[in-house]
């Protein structure tokens, strides 16, 4: 395990926390909660000063002085604005494995930001205290795109992750930051529900290097009842990502009794193999009772192991179990010879079995972004 890197990570996190505290101390967030007011991308002006948001499949029609479902875009006199540009409510330095990205610059640090808001509402949302609030209800810091990149460089982060809530709703901020990041040689990562229209997703992929999609389930019913979203547009967006030459990983949070049926998991895995290929990593994560879904127990490890087994049976090469500390399925195994190429224990990561993107033992090429 790479202890030196972990110490550095720890110091980085402390330094970042001090930075955030200082920034907060300098401004009254309640008075300046709007950040840089910026006209939104992807909307259409309608009659009577209404607008239609074309960013996500919800396609909210928003009247003057009203906001869309996400709560962070507002119609002011017929012009649609984003209220969260340069206005994050969460700023952290994380191990990239926390996103999780397992096949993208392992053991590196990722400068991670989020603003308030989300365009769906998962009943088990882990971050509902920021995702289900409006920007005036969160503690924000003023952080324009260039400053984000400068800080990422300063703290030796190899990537910037747009994460925690839903980057779709802070699209403009994400895209502009990603452009600055590319010029500075820093990778840009989006952690998303992929509930986004194909056009904006395709455009975003031009400046992104990796996308991790939270695929909530493989049934419309689950999406509708548990997440207030839709499956079909998500699958469409995932296909767009895959065709855009950015690195893609998938996470499925397995909720006992709701999205864990073997049939559904098998269908999902078959779809992934047929449409995305067998090299796309998939993580089956453990559900913890949260937000509106507190009446269910955490996912049994056996259920996750069954999902893992099904995915391997279908032929997916890189299958992981998440949120179960110390589980062997946290590590990456060579699909050819079966030896460990990247070993993980919590956030401790050792890629000693990986040489130049290949298995050190049999030289099999491991899919991913390694440098």
């Amino acid at each position: 395990m790479n202890d030196k890197l972990n110490r550095r990570k720890f110091m980085g996190c402390i330094a970042c926390s001090i930075f955030v505290t200082n920034v907060q101390g300098q401004q009254s967030h309640r008075e300046k909660w709007e950040g840089d007011l910026k006209e939104a991308m992807w909307y259409t002006k309608l009659n009577l000063k209404k607008v239609r948001c074309d960013l996500c499949p919800r396609k909210c029609v928003v009247d003057d002085r009203e906001r869309g479902f996400c709560g962070v875009r507002e119609n002011r006199d017929g012009v649609y604005y984003t209220l969260v540009y340069s206005n994050p409510c969460a700023v952290h330095i994380d191990p990239i494995e926390k996103k999780p990205f397992f096949h993208f610059l392992p053991a590196s640090l990722s400068f991670s930001i989020a603003t308030a808001g989300c365009n769906i509402e998962c009943a088990y949302c882990q971050n509902w205290e920021i995702s289900q609030r409006r920007p005036e209800q969160t503690d924000n810091v003023y952080l324009p795109p260039k400053r984000v990149v400068d800080l990422a460089k300063h703290y030796e982060c190899k990537s910037i992750a747009f994460t925690y809530t839903e980057p779709v709703v802070f699209y403009e901020y994400m895209v502009d930051t990603a452009k600055f990041a590319r010029r500075a040689g820093i990778k840009a990562l989006m952690i998303t529900n992929a509930f986004i229209e194909p056009k904006p997703m395709r455009e975003a992929c031009k400046v992104l290097d990796g996308v991790k999609v939270d695929l909530k389930a493989f049934s419309e019913e689950f999406y509708k009842k548990i997440c207030r979203g839709q499956l079909k547009p998500v699958l469409r967006a995932i296909e767009v990502i895959k065709s855009s030459n950015v690195w893609l990983e998938l996470v499925v949070l397995i909720v006992p009794g709701l999205n864990d049926s073997p049939d559904e998991i098998r269908q999902m895995c078959n779809w992934i193999k047929a449409n995305l290929g067998k090299d796309v990593p998939i993580h089956f994560s453990r559900f913890i009772p949260m937000y509106k879904l507190r009446n269910l127990p955490p996912t049994p490890v056996k259920t996750l192991e069954r999902c893992h087994e099904i995915a391997k049976e279908v032929g997916l090469r890189y299958v992981y179990i998440g949120n179960v500390f110390g589980h062997p399925a946290e590590s990456t195994y060579c699909p050819n010879c079966g030896s460990i190429v990247i070993q993980r224990l919590g956030y401790k990561t050792s890629a000693s079995g990986l040489k130049d993107g290949r298995c050190a033992k049999c030289k099999f090429a491991i899919a991913g972004v390694w440098a």
Binding site: V61, D94, K98, Q126, E129, Q132, D139, L253, I288, G346
Partner: protein, 365 residues
């Protein structure tokens, strides 16, 4: 801000403990601010109502409207309510007095108000200020209600005119104050905010304004009468969207059943004593924002204890104006406010939608 070590779920939350302490401090500061302009008795009053609001079951009033009131709507109309473009406060107050005595059958105005409120109540007057000065609950209506309550012996510091944001109150012409009587402030006032508890309405999870959950023991709903581009009609039931932290999450499926279920929450249902719908002006199309071309001077206050009956009556009113102006019905435009009917139906039964079963008393003065 911090991130919990729940790895794949990327759990990032804000410092809730710090927030909690901050909130406590702010609440204390507010209490001090309240008390600084009054005497020691006021401090005791604040403590009293806070304790009381924690247990709605301890309230002296019945949580349900009485049978007689549930089926009555009093519509008081005046052609003299406005002069040179300005609403006449004395005329509004007169309309209110006539409406209240008619609704309750009481001989005096004071007795009529006392029918709903006790001197130790903390009364929240929920106005709707989204559309700015021209199409919000009139300040003259809210102030007239406050003056009426004060005339029955209720301390003005126990009356709060409120909505979600201070800037919206100000843009509608209200003076935000923590010192004058009555008080007037938004949920975004320091020390107020939204409670920690998550309530579910339909499949929406919401936090309620502390003005509803912690400050007030009784509520008066003072909505406006407007067309709404998504849910069809906005009036009494929808006015409570101003009490949740995430009104933007309520518009799916025309607000049905979320808006109805929000009104069924005990905190709202048990405390809402009266609906005084401000239909002095009415907007029959292009809402919820103000569109002057669709405004009519209707000149009515609509008073009841039944939010469903009021909404159905006003919805029909909007439809009548739409028809007269050559517009399609809300149903034809796919905007029938079905959430109102859901509110009336099993299992919620928040009021009576069938206008045949509602006694509508129309009084012209």
């Amino acid at each position: 801000m911090r991130v919990k070590n729940q790895r794949h779920d990327e759990h990032a939350v804000q410092l809730t403990r710090r927030k909690f302490i901050l909130t406590l401090c702010e609440a204390c500061a507010s209490a001090i601010a309240f008390s600084s302009c009054s005497n020691r008795k006021r401090i005791a009053d604040v403590t009293a109502y806070r304790h009381k609001s924690e247990n709605p079951h301890s309230m002296t009033h019945s949580s349900q409207p009485r049978e007689m009131e549930q089926q009555r709507i009093i519509v008081v109309r005046s052609k003299r309510y406005i002069e040179s473009g300005k609403v006449k406060p004395e005329e509004v107050r007169k309309m209110l007095q006539i409406g209240l005595t008619e609704l309750t059958g009481c001989e005096t105005v004071k007795a009529a108000w006392r029918n709903f409120f006790e001197p130790d109540d903390v009364i929240g007057i929920k106005v709707n200020c989204l559309a700015g000065a021209k199409m919000s609950s009139h300040t003259e209506v809210a102030n007239a209600i406050a003056l009426e309550l004060m005339s029955t012996g209720i301390n003005g510091k126990r009356i709060i005119i409120w909505d979600r944001l201070n800037r919206e109150l100000e843009s509608a012409g209200y003076k935000v104050t923590l010192s004058s009587e009555p008080l007037c402030f938004g949920t975004d006032t320091d020390g107020i905010g939204y409670g920690e508890e998550i309530y579910e309405a339909g499949n929406v999870g919401s936090q309620l304004s502390r003005i509803v959950t912690h400050v007030c023991t009784a509520l008066i709903n003072v909505p406006v009468t407007k067309d709404h581009g998504i849910v069809g009609y906005t009036g009494a039931l929808k006015n409570w969207l101003g009490a949740v932290h995430n009104p933007n999450k309520y518009h799916d499926n025309g607000g049905d059943p979320q808006i109805a279920e929000l009104n069924a929450l005990t905190e709202i249902r048990s405390k809402q004593k009266l609906i005084i719908c401000d239909a002095l002006d009415l907007q029959y199309h292009g809402g919820p924002s103000f569109k002057p071309q669709f405004l009519v001077r209707h000149g009515a206050l609509i008073i009841s204890t039944d939010p469903v009956a009021v909404d159905v009556y006003c919805w029909r009113l909007v439809e009548r104006y739409r028809k007269a102006k050559g517009l399609q019905s809300l149903e034809s435009e796919g905007r029938k406010p079905k959430y109102i009917l859901t509110a009336a139906s099993e299992p919620l039964k928040l009021g009576v939608a069938d206008q045949e079963k509602v006694q509508v008393v129309e009084i012209d003065i």
